[in-house]
Amino acid sequence: MTSEVADSAEAVSVAPAADAGFLQRHGATIEYILIPGAALAGALVVFGLFVALFGKNPIDLYFYMYQGAFGTWFSWQNTLTRAAPLILTALCAALPAQLGLVIIGGEGALLIGALSATSMALTLPFAPPLVVQIAMAAAGMVGGGLWILLSGALRQYRGVNETISSLLLVYIALAILNHLVEGAMRDPASLNKPSTHEIGAANMIGTIPGTDVHWGLVFGLIAAVASYVLIYHTTFGFAARVAGGNIRAAKIVGLSVGKLILTVCFMAGSCAGLAGMVEVAAVQGRTNANLAAGYGYTGILVAFLARQNPLAVIPVAILLGGINASGGLLQRRLGLPDASVLVLQGIIFVFVLASDALYGRIGFLKNK
């Protein structure tokens, strides 16, 4: 016992020098964890105060949030199911962000991806399910990819602001979807809920064995990891980040920035398009207005909270999935309105944006 205490005391006495080195060497990484973590904790405290103003006990609140999001196996599955589309739609914002582009039109790419995937399935009525599924995924990715490519091309060739154009394209995508679903592609039997024909039970991609969570989660994880490798461990990704850092410098060193923009926009749209395909092939079984559920918009929030890092998108999407999953319990047990979840998301967003100013300014992490 005593020797142990002595050892640890000794360790403490030598710690400052060793620790300072460690903190400085890994300062950037620690910042990436510490600052968003602190922002999140701050947001939760403020939300607790907000809820207390309505006469609810904040301790109850935190408990129900935990229980609804992560407290049981069912809650975990609920959380992961909600996180699955968010990983993919977040990548739609995070990838172009490497180039300094702010794309907020993931919702549109999701809708077009869903529509493309459904069309593909309906044109292949006799193909074996695996072929249909692969074709649907390809169609969804190409459809969504081309949709965001439009914004990239408008930016590259016409100087149109990509943020505005991608947002406006969401409304166009929704109008196209409604037009087709209520017109040419409508299943005449869908009386009060205009929808396309169903893709067929055999073509549904189902859930991950042993869970309720659909395969969209796995697609999301693969896409996020692949994006991370692409951005941080390939010359393509390096070129993209150079262009994102300083576009003139990138041009001077001979990078073809235009090609980079178009390629990255296509890949970003493909991710959201794949999310649309998954919504059709794993959830809805057909396309209708239900698909416009706002995953594209929540994805933007995820991407910003993850500081546009494709790998960080995964935990953040799970966190937001958890917040959404616990929203129901907050309504039912605490009698809070649905909007309370939006309030929390808003508070988190503000805290994370504000905390951006702290990077590189935390004294004990700085290299002197």
Partner: protein, 369 residues
């Protein structure tokens, strides 16, 4: 579900609750005999579709042995599946009311198959023999109430021009527009209804624009079929037009301008459902009805409704209550001149043809596509 693991988790939850210093254990295990879950697609206080259900849920809350749990703004995606499951798994709900049309297929059907011991009652869907037996659908022939609103509107309008703010040209909506117009023509054969489709169920900006545009064209009585009629009612009243309400009584929003309205009467229906369950007979899987069955009702007449209008409307209402009147009967011509119901044919409320309505009757100005 694996019960052994549940009890372990419950234990963990319980201990977590204790360490947090709250009496949560007592709250989760409520003393209620029956837990009923209500799921709404919009907000509970929308002065419309969702409020009609929420008001009925509030009425059930007063019944002994009943615990009501509610969730609002649940999208028609797998989120609603998870909400149903969460109500069943975490709150012990044994009866679930997913009240929005888009919840039916595939979401509620999937959950009904997964939880065969839970009863699912869906508002608006068309349950068929192929659907799970522990699920059912109910709806009301609210076009009967719209027909009476139309009579009142036809009598009260000075210009003979009525307006209808509608969401989508789907059968349920078309049926309301047509019934309203046919009612108005009973009162004033020259009356017309100008319809504007906003394209979706909750589009307040477009609903306000449509209301203004209709009034600019000389319309002096408006009604609507959108999720929340509040926008239309308030804007029309502000512009000096009169309104007929929809879903719930909106007279509080426009006490002077409110003539009458077509309302749901879920407060009457849901207790009936509970009695059916308690008596052991169960709820029929396919349940429909109108004024006679007390599934829909009519708002009390407002101050601007004249004697003739009241008398006429009451007469027709009495016929609905007594024998069940057919609103749609031949010869009926649509607004393109095509005969849609031949002379001599009478389509009663339960006629499945009416569920497929795709036309606007003569007297309606507007198009379905």
């Amino acid at each position: 579900m694996d019960f052994s693991s549940i009890s372990r988790r419950r234990l963990l939850q319980g201990s977590a609750a204790l360490t947090l210093g709250t009496a949560l254990g007592a709250r989760t295990a409520a003393a209620a005999d029956t837990t009923i879950g209500f799921i709404y697609v919009g907000s509970r206080d929308d002065y419309g579709y969702n409020q009609a259900h929420a008001a009925a849920a509030a009425a059930l809350k007063k019944m002994p042995g009943i615990k009501i749990i509610e969730e609002e703004k649940v999208p028609e995606t797998d989120a609603v599946e998870k909400t149903m499951e969460s109500m069943i798994n975490l709150d012990g709900a044994t009866l679930v009311f997913p009240t929005s049309f888009g919840y039916f297929s595939p979401h509620m059907v999937k959950m009904a198959n997964k939880y065969p011991k839970v009863r699912f009652e869906h508002c608006g869907g068309l349950w068929t023999d192929k659907d799970p037996k522990n699920a059912g659908s109910y709806f009301g022939y609210i076009d009967e109430a719209q027909y009476i609103s139309g009579i009142v509107a036809g009598h009260t309008s000075k210009s003979g021009k009525l307006g209808f703010v509608a969401a989508k040209p789907i059968p349920q909506v078309l049926r309301n527009i047509n019934a309203f117009t046919l009612g108005a023509k009973l009162a004033n054969p020259k009356a017309t209804t100008q319809v504007i489709f906003t394209g979706d169920w909750s589009m307040p900006v477009k609903e306000a624009e449509a209301t203004n545009s209709l009034i600019d064209q000389g319309v002096d009585v408006l009604t609507c079929h959108v999720d929340g009629p509040k926008t239309m009612v308030e804007n029309a009243a502000r512009r000096g037009a009169m309104v007929c309400g929809y879903h719930v009584n909106q007279s509080a929003l426009a006490p002077e301008a409110y003539l009458t309205g077509a309302e749901w009467n879920w407060e009457a229906l849901y207790p009936k459902f509970l009695k059916m369950i308690a008596s052991g007979e169960g709820i029929p899987n396919f349940y429909r009805g109108g004024l006679q069955e007390e599934i829909v009702k009519i708002s009390p007449y407002g101050p601007k409704v004249g004697e003739a209008a009241r008398k006429h409307a009451d007469e027709v209402k009495a016929k609905f209550l007594a024998t069940g009147l057919a609103i749609f009967k031949g010869p009926l011509v649509d607004n393109k001149g095509k005969t849609v119901i031949a002379a001599g044919t009478e389509r009663g409320q339960k006629d499945p043809e009416l569920e497929k309505m795709d036309y606007l009757v003569e007297g309606v100005i507007g198009a379905t596509s």
